[in-house]
Amino acid sequence: MIILIIIGMSLVTMIPRVIPAFVIEKMQFRPWVNRWLSAIPYAALGALIFPGILSVNPDKSQIGLLGGIVAVILAYIGLNVVLVVIGAIITVYFLSL
């Protein structure tokens, strides 16, 4: 029975992912659509970061927020993404002590 769930989950995940590969082949977009699509990565990052980051610690939303602020600062001073990630983990670790 679980195997059926896995196959179903796979199909409804993979089909929406792969359809654009075929659609793009056949379509040329107007400039405004291209501008919209090129803004999607930044919009997606925004929507993925907030408000989700508040639930890093579901009981204390400020912990995720503070970890995020540290990440913003580390990224702003130009550190590599790996260091930004490690810095945020350390921050949250100590805040949770």
């Binding site: 409804v12 803004a39 990565p41 997606a44 993925l48 790996v82 983990i89």
Partner: protein
Amino acid sequence: MTDKAEIYSSTAVHMIKRGFITGIPIMLGYLPVAITYGVLAKQAGMTLMELTLMSVMVFAGASQFMGVNMIAVGTGTLEIIIATFVLNFRHFIMSLSFMNQLRELKLKWKIPLSLGLTDESFAVSSINKDEAKMEKGAFFYGTIISIAYLSWIIGSFLGGVLGDVIPDRLSQSMGIALYAMFIGLLIPSIKKEKKIAVIALFAMLIHALCIQLGMSTGWAIVAGTIIGGMSGIYLLKEDVA
């Protein structure tokens, strides 16, 4: 002829190396999350084979956690599948953007690259857009996605075999990892082009608003991404696109 072949292969190797370095943050973020997934899936009564197979076939973190939860409480098959569709529909929008970025690539590349699209592999790949125009750029994106995929599968398997190996407090702290990665990707783009901050903040606002209105996380992210991205129609110039 041999010269050409050499240049060809060295460019490919170079792209694989760059993809590997660029993909390391995903590995760092995925391993602890995947291990946690493996542990929870095992506790929910799934076999090692089933939980690893789910990672191989679904490759979508949040929906796998949700699926495992729903299996644990005995939710119906159809309900689990519909909830998965809703939660992962955002990948359709992301894939549309990503495939437009990779327009020049052949379909035989586009298909596997689109199938391997997750929030994280999309975020890292789409922020590094220059490689899309470079020779052998497909190897760059292929490597990023392969690292993400393998980290996810290996982590899930390890979680299922080893159980809770990461100390509780550490694994809780690692919950910030993927968010920090998203921030680490977004900030350099904002430093280059301030208007990108407006797009991202707008998307956050829409997402938060939709949650307040009682929408599910899946649809709220879709709405935030689509509507937030629309601000780019006015804000971005053609050369950024």
